[in-house]
Assembly symmetry: C2
Homo-oligomer: 460 residues x 2
């Protein structure tokens, strides 16, 4: 994978002289992105492209080339791949669509391409791919612009939608591999690279179809001990599976079988779009959860009820508080207030103010041996007039950075975005958009812990 992710020299075959808006010029995008390798545009009709000397053919470059990127009409691709192989190129990305994702002729062309590469020890990524993004060396083969953060998130996908839509899908991305039709480089090679990469702390996977299942499961089992692997498998339905066949040419296989096999290997498995972003947030910022007993702290009774409902749905339970915890809160509350879990702190808040009461409650349940995880419902008030209802700073003060219990939150009020940022600033509390998502993230952290427990038992 090194020649794909960190090439020293790159030939760009089929690069147009057009650039600017609407040209989808991947060389232009690569240059904007801040690449540091040597690049050789290949175009028989151009002397130079974007100020870089062009060559009529990859054979004419006369230099060792790590990576060739082929972006030509499909009928010209095979010859270009063969030429690249002859020229000693070590790795090839085929961007072009219309192979196993299309018709019988496309399938045959793809097979010929693979045969040519395999006979010569050359690897192919694609076809039907945006290729690579590597924010750690500012290299990309995408013709669409991407964000540039050095996030510890490794993304493996079968569609450029997840590169372009990274902010929607994973929220952040440090390195990405779009395996497209996966004619040669597939999930195994990509996962192995991400798994062994010390810059990457979590691997997020969009999967349409999985081949080499046994190899993948063994690999996933090994890597999941070091870092979480999260899979969003599409083609769950009959209609979806049919659509997958004509997208990346993948056989979606039987969803439930995939699901149980992957979960067995320690993979965290998602059911719906929108979950990956929450999963990444939770797993990067919160510890695995050692049990299923949750403390709910809330300035609203109605929110406490909603939390109770959704925790039960997620297979979690309300922690039975220790006497010490109850005593600490009782000291702040009016006598008539029934105290329990969910812990409705509003009557105490009316007496002593939200900040102190909230911090005291969080401190109490962090210290309570009956509690495995904490769900905080909070107010996101108008600022600056109602800043006294923003508990973010006070809660952050009592939550230690190193700890065994996840602390997640949900906010209601007119200022949810800003108060969320204040809560998350110290990477101790992670805030979600709904109570359902917050509870779901706790169940995911529980699952992550179970996976690590199983591993350590197997090693014991």
């Amino acid at each position: 994978m090194k020649y794909f992710m960190e090439p020293k020299s790159v030939a760009i075959i089929g690069i147009s002289r057009k650039s600017g808006p609407g040209s989808y010029n991947l060389m232009e995008n690569m240059m904007n992105y801040g690449y540091t390798c040597e690049i050789f545009p290949i175009n028989p009709k151009a002397k130079d492209i974007l100020g870089v000397k062009a060559y009529p053919s990859v054979k004419d470059v006369g230099r060792a080339i790590d990576l060739a990127i082929v972006s030509l009409p499909r009928d010209l691709v095979l010859d270009s791949v063969k030429e690249s192989i002859d020229a000693g190129v070590k790795a090839i990305i085929v961007v072009t669509q219309g192979f196993a994702d299309a018709d019988a002729r496309g399938k045959a062309l793809q097979q010929e391409m693979v045969n040519a590469a395999r006979n010569n020890g050359v690897r192919i990524l694609g076809p039907n791919t945006l290729g690579i993004v590597n924010n750690f060396n500012r290299f990309t083969t995408s013709f669409m612009p991407l964000t540039r953060e050095k996030a510890p998130v490794g993304l493996i996908c079968q569609s450029g939608i997840f590169f372009v839509g990274a902010s929607v899908f994973t929220g952040q991305i440090g390195k990405g591999i779009d395996i497209g039709n996966a004619c040669d480089i597939g999930f195994c090679e990509a996962l192995e690279y991400m798994g062994d990469d010390p810059e990457i702390k979590i691997v997020a996977i969009h999967m349409e179809g999985l081949e080499q299942t046994r190899r993948f499961l063994t690999l996933a089992g090994r890597i999941a001990k070091q870092k979480p692997i999260v899979v969003f498998k599409t083609g769950q339905s009959e209609a979806g599976a049919k659509a997958a066949a004509s997208h990346s040419g993948a056989m979606a296989g039987h969803y439930q079988i995939h699901k149980s096999a992957l979960k067995q290997a320690g993979v965290l498995f998602l059911d719906a779009d929108g979950q990956m972003r929450d999963a990444v947030k939770a797993l990067l910022n919160q510890p695995p959860m050692k049990g299923g007993r949750i403390a709910v702290i809330t300035p609203t009774g109605a929110g406490g009820i909603m939390a109770s409902d959704t925790l039960e749905k997620q297979g979690l339970e309300l922690a039975p508080f220790s006497e010490k915890t109850i005593r600490r809160i009782a000291n702040l509350s009016p006598e008539w207030m029934p105290l329990g879990n969910p812990l409705d702190i509003w009557p105490a808040v009316m007496r002593y103010g939200l900040k102190d009461v909230y911090a005291e409650a969080v401190d109490a349940v962090l210290d309570d041996p009956n509690v495995d995880g904490i769900l905080c419902l909070g107010i996101a008030p108008e600022l600056p007039d109602f800043a006294f209802l923003d508990a973010s700073e006070d809660v952050n003060k009592v939550v230690p950075k190193e700890r065994q219990k996840p602390v997640v939150g949900w906010l209601y009020g007119p200022n949810a975005r800003e108060i969320r940022e204040r809560f998350e600033k110290e990477e101790k509390v992670t805030v979600f958009q709904t109570i359902e998502k917050a509870a779901w993230s706790l169940s995911l952290l529980r699952e992550r812990d179970k996976c690590l427990e199983k591993t350590s038992e197997q090693n014991a």
Copy 2:
């Protein structure tokens, strides 16, 4: 309800001389909000409050008073209610907590309060409530600040969380009634008011427990013919029901029985927090959907697969396109491209540009008799460089304002917020945060149509 929603004269009992941040001074909030009624602060220790002449008792005002708002420690509430009744007040809001939501003594106090009111033809809202918000006459009894739009959304709830968190819960709110413990004014009175109010186009309800079930169902059946009623019922779980008892003192009852009875009456029923906002958006902006056959238009094959999966989960199906529709798209696509539903337009986009192709596709499926609703997946590109990938204006041009088919969307890319606003500007296309939510909203519009169909059959 008129005395609660549009009072001409209001006594505020138990109003503190403290004001400003942290005082929760409801009179101050009422004044900031822009009230237009007469107000009479009642406080035996003050000559005036916030510049308004104060009275020692409600009896001393010597004027007809529509509404009294009582915010006193719970042991003083009953006497104050009785005094208000004696003074001829027509409606009373009890803000104070600690009644049926607390202990046996609280329950007894609440019952005495109700008895006193009923014997004298006075109505009580609460206790344990923020009361009223009415953005159409700028009146509120909430001590927390609220947004002020004249939105056509009527909210009925059992907790102030939904007033304060309206932007999170319903997204918008025009009028709101927090029935709190619902000792007298309950869901029936509130629903009747919202149902008959021409300013209100949709009624959003947060429900912990429902009494007078039969009356409510009859009323809901009548009102649902005119406008959608959406219920989010909490206390679904055993733990949640227990928490509800100690919140508003409500008996949550059996969730599944409530659910089927309410649905039978034509109410749209939600399962999770976060759905109300999407429901309101969909029902306000899109027509009921006449059937379950959906056209998916997508510039990404992977997105099409995700859409197929989630439509099936929502009980919808992929429309079998007419030959005419296929022909119109085939004219734009390369020969090798398999055409169907989901309709992957990317190969056509590479030839003719996204804007024209997207508009042509939407126009074709709008015209297709085999299609009942349209799900558009779109790109939210970097601006201004990639503005040519923003199809919002072109799609809005081909979607008529009056139509029978809902058009919903989902966006991926770095600029989702701005492109969403562009799509939604003309209130023709409604964009959701995930494909799942977009598909869910279509199923809700289908349900809304079924409810109207049933009604018209009954009337036939």
